[in-house]
């Protein structure tokens, strides 16, 4: 008899709890809607309206008639090559960021700092300097007669020719976007209860199995948002490629920028932007889907 009782009791209390939750949620809901209004207006002004404009220009010709020509311009060899290079460099940068950030986040977690704001500070600190300034600083470091080559020359070593190569662009991307990978991964890792890790050890898992089966899967949300936050700005950047790639290397971001700034062709620029957005949406969906799939089969 006592075997069954606890179960029933629990189910009853559980139902009560959910009911309560719903009640408070609906009252909370109203005040939340009110609070969210300014944010909603802000979103409309600065996100929705530009998006509608991009869609409008991208799907019309100079006379305002509907057309898909702007989108198909991506098939143009120059544009296609730029998109392909952008994808390649962003993927490489994202992978490098992940490989650098994950171990660093693990180390930060193992330090068990009581105050997370310290870590946020250290990681964010370089960002207090303007993004363009930092990238230009790298240009000076990598230049033919830059800091690195001056040092190499003094040591009678052969000069490095990194500037204006894809390597320089990847370096710029990694340098600029690494914090966006570290922070979300560190956040999810820090949230993992020590006893969950202890439980894995207790059940016979050694350090590596504990990492593979428990720590890494639990940190996936952080990894995914890290990937998103590095991949998207890398794919759309034009500043990094302009500064560190010179005029030789053209990314899709540069092409779009040119359409808007130099050629004043809003229709083509918007059309290519839409294609880029579609690429981002598709790749993010793939990443999210991979995450779901791996969750279903995560245990061996």
């Amino acid at each position: 008899m006592s075997n069954e009782n606890p179960l029933r009791n629990e189910i009853v209390t559980e139902e009560k709890k959910t009911k309560k939750k719903k009640d408070s949620a609906s009252t909370l809901g109203k005040s939340k809607t009110l609070l969210a209004t300014p944010y909603g207006l802000w979103m409309a002004a600065f996100i929705i309206i530009p998006l509608i404009l991009v869609l409008y220009y991208g799907l019309t010709d100079g006379n305002g008639n509907f057309t898909l020509d702007n989108l198909s311009l991506i098939a143009n060899p120059i544009n296609r090559k730029a998109l392909w290079l952008s994808l390649k460099l962003s993927l490489i940068s994202t992978a490098i960021c992940l490989l650098l950030a994950y171990p660093l986040a693990l180390v930060l977690k193992s330090m068990k700092l009581k105050d997370n704001s310290f870590i946020v500070m250290v990681v964010i600190l370089p960002m207090w300097m303007n993004f363009l300034l930092r990238t230009i600083a790298w240009q000076n470091i990598l230049e033919k007669n830059g800091v690195i080559n001056t040092i190499l020359e003094a040591l009678h070593l052969p000069a490095l020719n990194i500037i204006n190569t894809p390597t320089a662009i990847v370096l710029g991307m990694v340098y600029n976007f690494l914090p966006f990978m570290i922070l979300p991964i560190y956040n999810t890792l820090a949230k993992i209860d020590d006893n969950v890790i202890n439980a894995a050890r207790d059940l016979g898992a050694n350090g590596w199995v504990t990492f593979k089966r428990v720590i890494f899967p639990l940190s996936m949300p952080g990894v995914i948002s890290g990937i998103t936050m590095v991949f998207v700005p890398s794919l759309t950047t034009f500043a990094i490629s302009t500064i560190l790639g010179g005029s030789k290397i053209v990314l899709i971001g540069n092409i779009i920028e040119q359409q808007f700034q130099k050629l004043g062709n809003w229709n083509t620029g918007s059309g290519l932007s839409i294609v880029l957005m579609i690429f981002i949406l598709v790749s993010m969906t793939l990443v999210a889907k991979y995450d779901k799939d791996s969750e279903g089969t995560n245990a061996w």
Partner: protein, 359 residues
């Protein structure tokens, strides 16, 4: 049933940042025993349990398990499993995957694992929950899954750290019986941590009462309750009257100026002692029949008995009685000799922990 030593803690000490948490602790656990660490929060119960589980290494001393020194062995190489205070389930796995975790590491066959999952879920009364995620279960259910996840590995010893601490009273009581049933069915050793004296008295074969990192008393629940060795134990386990007194000679103690016959010997003559008298052991009699007399100052009906405060010889005695004496009435107090528990006054360093904790 209870037989040889399975775990032996020898001269264990542990400190954190210079604060001594456990000081020279010696303890053994017998096979099949239900041993409970009982003590106030912060007294070092979890720390002791974590050293047995392998999550902390003692600064000094040895831990022997089944004849082997395991002091430095990592947790995954110890033949015991832990049920953690806040369940610590793997939230990214289903209930079945949680339970299978240890078995998969041991590379058991799929058929064996499936069997075990079914068996364990049945054992904890959650048969149909295998495909659910931990977050969709209530606290009590999650706790039972944590137990199931541990016991499928057939550990020799199960360590449980306040496993019922987060549950409400009714559920906690039901789960106490569940755990006793489980232990009997599995026939394994339980080391159980709680700060709830009732829980400890209900469930344990043996209780180790701790305070400030020192063992205060080890014994059966009856022994701990009826014959507390010091004021701390008496105070922590149940309600009691703890009074400073003088041992006049063997079998006679002077409490608040009145001589009470008792059964204790060997404390010397005219030596200061503490006496413990449980409220239910005090008989209320006519004033002329009492060893001392006093006046009832408060009265509360508690269902089974009345709880009364009686002011006598400058001390407010707590008395439980089924007979009612109204507030203000004069009563005599009498105590049977064997109901008076005499305790040595604390002298040495480790006994100091007792004194500091009295309010």
């Amino acid at each position: 049933m209870v037989n040889n030593k399975l775990i032996d803690l020898i001269n264990i000490s542990k400190s954190y940042n210079g604060n001594v948490i456990i000081d020279d602790l010696n303890l053994y656990v017998r096979e099949n025993e239900f041993l409970t660490f009982l003590g106030p929060s912060g007294c070092g119960k979890t720390t002791t349990l974590r050293m047995i589980g392998g999550f902390e290494t003692p600064d000094q001393g040895k831990i022997i398990f089944d004849g082997k020194d395991i002091t430095k062995l990592p947790p995954n190489e110890r033949q015991l499993n832990t049920v953690f205070q806040k369940y610590a389930l793997f939230t990214h796995m289903t209930i079945a995957e949680n339970i299978a975790f240890g078995l998969k590491i041991k590379k058991k066959s799929k058929a064996y694992i499936d069997d075990k999952i079914k068996y364990a879920l049945k054992l904890v009364n959650l048969e149909d929950y295998g495909n659910r995620m931990p977050d969709s279960l209530s606290g009590g259910q999650q706790q039972r899954i944590a137990i199931a996840r541990a016991i499928v590995n057939e550990p020799k010893v199960l360590l449980l750290d306040e496993p019922l601490g987060a549950l409400d009273l009714k559920l906690r009581q039901d789960m106490q019986y569940e755990l006793i049933r489980l232990k009997n069915e599995l026939g394994i050793t339980f080391i159980y941590v709680t700060h709830d004296q009732e829980e400890a008295l209900t469930m344990s074969d043996t209780i180790m009462v701790m305070n400030k990192g020192y063992i205060q008393q080890i014994g059966t629940p009856e022994k701990i309750y009826n014959e507390p060795e010091n004021a701390f134990v008496a105070d922590f386990i149940g309600e009691s009257n703890i009074i400073g007194a003088t041992m006049v000679r063997d079998r006679l103690v002077n409490i608040l100026g009145a001589n009470f016959p008792c059964v204790d010997e060997g404390f010397g003559e005219n030596k200061p002692v503490d006496v413990v008298i449980r409220p239910e052991d005090i008989d209320l009699v006519a004033p002329e029949d009492g060893i001392i007399t006093g006046r009832v100052t408060s009265l509360i009906f508690k269902g089974v008995h009345y709880e009364m405060d009686v002011m006598a010889n400058g001390y407010e005695w707590l008395v439980h009685s089924t007979d009612l004496s109204p507030v203000g009435s004069e009563v005599g107090l009498k105590v049977d000799p064997f109901d008076i528990q005499i305790m040595k006054k604390p002298e040495s360093d480790d006994e100091e922990a007792v004194v500091n904790n009295e309010q």
